[in-house]
Structure formats: structure tokens, C-alpha cells
């Protein structure tokens, strides 16, 4: 009997081994050591390490608050991890979710910028001295084990990343292993910067949304330096100059606002809302003729703000 069964067992085992190796091959196929763009490879320092990022060992499920405390403390925000737990942790989920991670940064007076999903962007920020919060799935997609950590250094020669992670400070992870776990969160990462600083690779739209969301919570005064920095970086962004004009006007700088609105419409003549605000500020300054011109242009342009422009023009 035993003899008769042996080959079957052997075949089954072989089949099993084959299946497993095939499956693992497929998995490893998606997890090669990530390559950097040639451009990044040339310009990045060979290694970098941000000194003085405080380490907070996480308790149970609190890698979210711990990671936040590390980046916020590093940037000079004096907030204890214990204070952050009730602000970001969700007991029912035994964890913290991405939107609230960003919102909590905002609450503490820093602007959260989500980076674009590449190792290049991550390393570039580290080289610029900005610790980066990353989200990883340390396990497989079928049994996720989500985790936040703070990337603080790297070594290109060794292909290694250095992270404050979980209960371990300055943990070293190979790019390959890190990227495999990071890719499962669609390479989600963010930096927390003071208004006035911008991440180097951020896109215009993303930065615009991030700063605008910050302004909604903290008002124009606190956000003004961010708009100044934004328009210096994206000098052709008409929306950026429009936002700068609004922030300047709200902080009592009418001439500065007029200048910004003028720059805005110089870059995009059909931005009705900028013409409208330009007209309204000119009107408030008593420059009736110029106001009439600006409002006239706003009233010509179809869109959401046309009725308001017409109304303002009629009142003149």
C-alpha cells in the first residue's frame, strides 16, 4: 500500500513545491531593488542622515501618533505623543488613517505635503533635511499589517534606508525590502513643513491644495509665507498669485494684493475670479476707473463669478 502511494505523495509534494516557487517568483518579480532616475542618481548626495530627529517608541498600535510626534518635534513643534494619541488614533480601527495623519499635522501649524510616489522624491526630501513619514504594509496584501515610520537617512552605495520605526530607532532596511512593503500603500509618504517651505518635487496642484487646506484652518496671516514661497516657486501660476492677493488683502496689504491680482491676470487673462477680486479691491481703495475696467473684464467672462461681477459693476 505504502509503495503504491509514494509516487502520488511525491508528485503532490513536487506540484506543491512548484506551485509555491511559481507563486513566490511572481511575487519577487514585483519586488526588485528599485532604481532611481538617472537625474536623481547624479544629483543626490551618496548618503544622508538627518541628525536630531527624536525617536518615540510606539506603544501597541500607536505608530501613527509616534511618527507624527517625531516629525513635529523635529520641526520645533512642542507636542507630546500622549497629546497626539486622542487627536489621531481611532480605537475602533486600532490605528490611524491617512487623512487624519495629514489633518493632525495641519492642526499643529505645519503644512502636510504628500510626496509623489517615488523613491526619488523620498530620498530627495531626506537629503534636503526633511524627515518623511511613510506608510508601509509590512505583511502581504491578504493579511495587511499597516505601519507608519519616519525615514531619516539613506546610503546609496549600500542601497539602504534608515528609519525610526516601531520600537526601533535608526532601523536599517534595504531599498528592496522597504520598497516592497512601501509599494503596498501605493508609496504613500508626506513631509510636514512650516509655511514658507516647500518640498522640492511637489507638483503645482498638490501644493496649491495643501496650502489652501492649511489656510482654511489657520487663516490668511499664518498662511501668507506659504503663498509667497509658492508664487516664488511657481511664478507662472495664476491661481497662486490669486491666492497670494487674497492673503495679502486679508492681512491689510491692499497695494500688495492689487499687485498680486494683476500678476495673476497677466498670466491668465481669462481667470474671471482674479479680475473680480482685483476690481473689488481697487473699488475699496477708491480707484473707481480702474475698478470699472477690471470688473468689466470679469463680467465678460462666463463662469461662476460672472453674476457677482455684473452686480458689482451695476452698483458702480
Amino acid at each position: 500500500m505504502q509503495d503504491r502511494f509514494k509516487p502520488v505523495c511525491k508528485n503532490a509534494r513536487l506540484a506543491g513545491v512548484l506551485l509555491l516557487s511559481l507563486w513566490l517568483l511572481i511575487l519577487t518579480g514585483c519586488a526588485a531593488t528599485p532604481r532611481l532616475a538617472a537625474n536623481t542618481e547624479q544629483t543626490l548626495p551618496r548618503e544622508a542622515m538627518i541628525e536630531g530627529v527624536p525617536f518615540h517608541a510606539q506603544r501597541e498600535y500607536q505608530c501613527g501618533p509616534a511618527s507624527l510626534a517625531m516629525v513635529l518635534n523635529h520641526d520645533g513643534v512642542d507636542v507630546a505623543m500622549e497629546r497626539l494619541i486622542p487627536q489621531v488614533f481611532i480605537p475602533g480601527r486600532e490605528g490611524s488613517v491617512q487623512p487624519e495623519m495629514l489633518a493632525t499635522v495641519r492642526r499643529h501649524g505645519r503644512i502636510p505635503y504628500v510626496l509623489n510616489d517615488s523613491l526619488d522624491a523620498l530620498l530627495t526630501e531626506i537629503a534636503a533635511g526633511h524627515p518623511v513619514v511613510v506608510m508601509q504594509n509590512l505583511s502581504l496584501p491578504a493579511w495587511p499589517m499597516w505601519h507608519y515610520a519616519v525615514a531619516i537617512g539613506y546610503d546609496l552605495e549600500a542601497s539602504e534606508l534608515i528609519l525610526h520605526s516601531g520600537e526601533e530607532a535608526e532601523r536599517i532596511e534595504s531599498f528592496r525590502r522597504f520598497d516592497a512593503t512601501w509599494a503596498r500603500s501605493e508609496r504613500w509618504a508626506f513631509v510636514a513643513l512650516s509655511p514658507g517651505e516647500l518640498p522640492s518635487g511637489v507638483s503645482e496642484q498638490r501644493a496649491l491644495q495643501a496650502i489652501s487646506a492649511f489656510e482654511q484652518v489657520h487663516g490668511a496671516g499664518a498662511t501668507l509665507p506659504a503663498w509667497e514661497a509658492f508664487t516664488a516657486r511657481f511664478s507662472a501660476s495664476s491661481m497662486g498669485h490669486f491666492a497670494l492677493g487674497n492673503a495679502r488683502y486679508a492681512t491689510g496689504d491692499a497695494p500688495g494684493a492689487i499687485e498680486a491680482f494683476r500678476t495673476s491676470v497677466a498670466h491668465r487673462d481669462d481667470l474671471g475670479v482674479a479680475w473680480l477680486n482685483l476690481g473689488l479691491v481697487l473699488l475699496a481703495q477708491g480707484e473707481t476707473d480702474e475698478a470699472r475696467q477690471a470688473l468689466g473684464r470679469a463680467a465678460e467672462l462666463p463662469g461662476d463669478w460672472q453674476p457677482r461681477a455684473r452686480e458689482a459693476l451695476e452698483r458702480l
Binding site: 486622542p86 475602533g92 488613517v97 495641519r106 493579511w143 484652518v217 458689482a312
Partner: protein, 130 residues
Amino acid sequence: MKTLRRFLSPLLILALVLGSVSVSAAPLPTSELVSTQAALSAERGDADRERINEILSRTEVQEQLVAQGVDLAEVEARVAALSDEEARQMAEQLDQLPAGASVVGALLLVFLVLLVTDILGLTNVFPFTR
């Protein structure tokens, strides 16, 4: 949540309509500028509908967070710090959003598979495999 939406939507629409009527009927000319946030959301699409959705989203998120055990005293400030986009995301898919620090079911098979993938450098579950 559906019933809440059905009940709140008309109220909100009414409130917003009345709000805009009183503004346009005001005797004094309003010289208030269009805010950056309003301009940006108008660039994205229908501003009024977004506004209603946003208010609904935020109340929904508050309820969901309280149901998930978040302290009542904290919940309002937490929701206030969310951007419109984040509030919408939370309202629509809080259950599906990955939460940092979930745990793995401790099945033996899972343990073995993860052990192998850990050794292969695909995962990072067990500290002793590095």
C-alpha cells in the same frame, strides 16, 4: 446614514438658498472678495453641490468617528482640521481606509507564508529574519 442624508439635504439646500437670497437682497453693497478655497472648488466643479456634500460629509465623519470610539471632546476639532477632500474621503470610505498598525491574524499557515516572504525580503513582519 441614508435617512440622515435624506432629511438633512433639503434643509441644507433651503439654508443655502435663503443665505444667498439675503446676501443679494442686502441693501449695502457687499465688497467681500471671493476666497481662494471657493475659487479652487469652483475650478473643480459645481460649487454649491460640493458645499452641501462637504457639510454632510463632516457630520457623517463625526458620527463615524464617535462610533469607532473617538472621544466626544476631541471629535469636533479632529473633523475641523480635515480638508474638504479628506472629509469626503473619510465619509465615503472610512472602513476601507488602511489604518496604520492593524494586526495580522495569527494563523499557522499565515505565519509560515509570512516567514518565507520575510526571508525573501518581500515583507517585514518578524524582526528576527533581518
